[in-house]
């Protein structure tokens, strides 16, 4: 029978997130894996700006804050200076896919040896629910009040697909956190990414589909259903690139 104890990488206090927010779940998964790998004192969490950065208040290990979208650039420097440390960035979709697109693509293309945890909730949570590059077609946000129209705002950006076509990344995968199976798979994926990093294999990218009950205007339980019917058909979970598996 499995036991479960709160991970040591998290402080014994509630997170700063809204009730039902899967940023908290994603943070806890990363903390779980770091605890299992016995890297609590060795891991460095690089955050930039957005709701994703709120996890620094509950993170008990090392955290470094960076400018908006520039977490991959900071992580590059950190990992090159401290190659023995486990370095990962934790970024949201407004941060990684909008303002930080150049940094993430360049870091991925160089094959830097760190892990990116990308929490995709299809909105700018911290600033009040504006449209993000990943907002779904027809999804209502505070800046697309009739739903996103592809004629004026384009199509949702699929980061896993984009990064998996590059030559350097070794592991690119997407998981949805709205079911126990998705969460268990995500935990395995994060573990694999960290193990690949510790083995010095190269760039690893994990996308986690999350929710935003506050800005989607739903209860936490309604967001689970919304993700099943809208998010998952467009952002398909799965492993997009696995160089280790191919070799």
């Amino acid at each position: 029978m499995p036991d479960y104890k709160r991970p040591k990488s998290l402080m014994p206090m509630a997170t700063s997130y809204c009730p039902g927010c899967m940023h908290a779940l994603a943070t806890r998964l990363v903390a779980d894996v770091i605890g299992e790998l016995d890297q609590v004192n060795n891991a460095i969490n690089v955050v930039s700006v957005g709701c994703s950065a709120l996890n620094l208040y509950t993170w008990a290990g090392d955290v470094i804050g960076s400018a908006h979208g520039r977490a991959p650039a900071v992580a590059t420097g950190l990992k090159r200076c401290l190659p023995d440390r486990l370095v990962f960035t934790y970024q949201g979709d407004g941060d990684l896919a909008a303002i930080g697109l150049a940094e993430i693509m360049s870091a991925a293309n160089r094959g830097e040896n760190f892990t990116v945890i990308f929490a995709n909730n299809q909105t700018y949570g911290m600033t009040g629910g504006q449209m993000a590059p990943t907002t779904l077609i027809g999804q209502k946000t505070t800046t697309t009040i009739y739903g996103r129209d592809p004629e004026t705002t384009g199509y949702p950006l699929q980061m896993c697909e984009l990064i998996s076509v590059l030559k350097a990344p070794v592991f690119v995968a997407r998981y949805a956190l709205n079911s126990p199976k998705g969460v268990a798979d995500a935990k395995k994926g994060i573990r694999k990414a960290f193990e690949l990093q510790m083995a010095g294999k190269g760039f690893t990218f994990i996308e986690l589909l999350t929710n935003c009950p506050t800005n989607w205007g739903m209860t936490p339980l309604q967001t689970l259903e919304y993700m099943n019917t809208n998010t998952i058909p467009y952002f398909k979970p799965g492993i997009y690139k696995d160089k280790e598996g191919e070799a």
Binding site: P2, D3, M13, P19, G20, L25, P180, L221
Partner: protein, 68 residues
């Protein structure tokens, strides 16, 4: 057996929805922070599968298996 930390729980209800044996229920009392929190209505049926703990965003649930 599960232990729910009332000071961390925000009452999202994921643990209640995903409990395979349906032994959790939203309580009638509010926690110190003003959230309703789940209560274990039938602790004897708990198999310590830890799915509630897996889905809890806050890490508010701890699971210990009981030797029967």
């Amino acid at each position: 057996m599960i232990t729910i930390n009332q000071l961390m729980c925000k009452g999202c209800g994921y643990c209640i929805k995903f409990c395979p044996r349906h032994i959790l229920e939203m309580g009638k009392e509010r926690s110190q922070k003003g959230f309703f929190y789940p209560v274990n209505i039938d602790a004897d049926k708990c198999t310590s599968c830890a799915i509630c703990a897996l889905m809890c965003p806050e890490g508010a649930i701890e699971v210990t298996s009981q030797a029967k």
